[in-house]
Symmetry: C2
Subunit: 137 residues, 2 copies
DNA sequence: CTTGACCTTCCAGCTGCTGGAAAGACTAGA
DNA sequence: TCTAGTCTTTCCAGCAGCTGGAAGGTCAAG
């Protein structure tokens, strides 16, 4: 299987597939006589695994770790769960950050008339050093 | 005012302050005889503005646009509101993505026993090409 | 035999900084 | 006045995670 076939099967761009081998995330594939990369089904499965893990937001190094566990028949599910749980906590943290960002910005957008006059609470708030923070109410 | 004083006043690392001038986001400051950058209060206010806008997640080019409006006395608040609203929509989109990611991963983490045996729904799901997608229920 | 779709390598660039090296400028104290 | 220490400067490199493009080799169809 040449790279474009394999990459389509894995749902990744060929460039990315090459890149993953370059950085050693997946093993370097065998080569044909003329130097073409040659993939088998097992390689494609690993690429799919990585794609899915990346879609979940796991970093490349987390993917490395997960792929190690994927290939290890003696792995403990606790190891996997630990990594996934850490990721889940990051997601939660990001969600909370986004929420407060959203609330503050929505508040400003709401307060802005959006007409052709220059007065604008959004601009005002951005220019304010500690903007958005209430001081001793 | 030398760069460290200005950067502290703006709440940014000195490196970042230099960087913002390098890319032309803020105007290049005046220089002393010996070549030291020399900042005034107006520059610091612009740096604060940029810091706050970045904290809101506006990109550098959005910051450029917003800073242009900040300095433009004849701006219309509609222009500002348009940029902020677009950002708000991005935030909303990101929130929805994170939510579905969270739900799916939480479900998997929940289903994983986390013991010393190898069976693991998390790994199984990552290896599954269309994993997490229900086909015609 | 030619065309066009593939494949290869390598280098550069994206975003938004951040770290570090080498060298000059300034200030306080002995 | 010398010196130590803390500025400051420039420039180069690197983080993540790809992605685009150039220059060239390979292969199958017509």
């Amino acid at each position: 299987m040449n790279i474009s076939t394999a990459s389509k099967a894995a749902g990744l761009p060929a460039k990315t597939v090459r890149y993953y081998a370059d950085i050693g995330l997946v093993p370097a594939p065998a080569r044909s006589e003329s130097g073409y990369r040659s993939y088998d089904d097992a390689s494609v499965r690993k690429l799919v695994f990585v794609r899915r893990a990346r879609e979940f937001g796991f970093s490349i190094s987390e993917c490395r770790e997960l792929l190690g566990l994927y290939e290890d028949r003696r792995r403990s599910s606790a190891d996997v769960k630990r990594i996934a749980t850490a990721r889940l906590e990051e997601i939660g943290k990001k969600q909370r950050e986004l929420q407060s960002l959203h609330d503050e910005l929505a508040h400003l957008v709401d307060a802005c008339r959006g007409d052709d006059r220059p007065d604008c609470p959004i601009i005002d708030s951005l220019g304010d050093p500690g903007g958005g923070v209430r001081k001793s109410p």
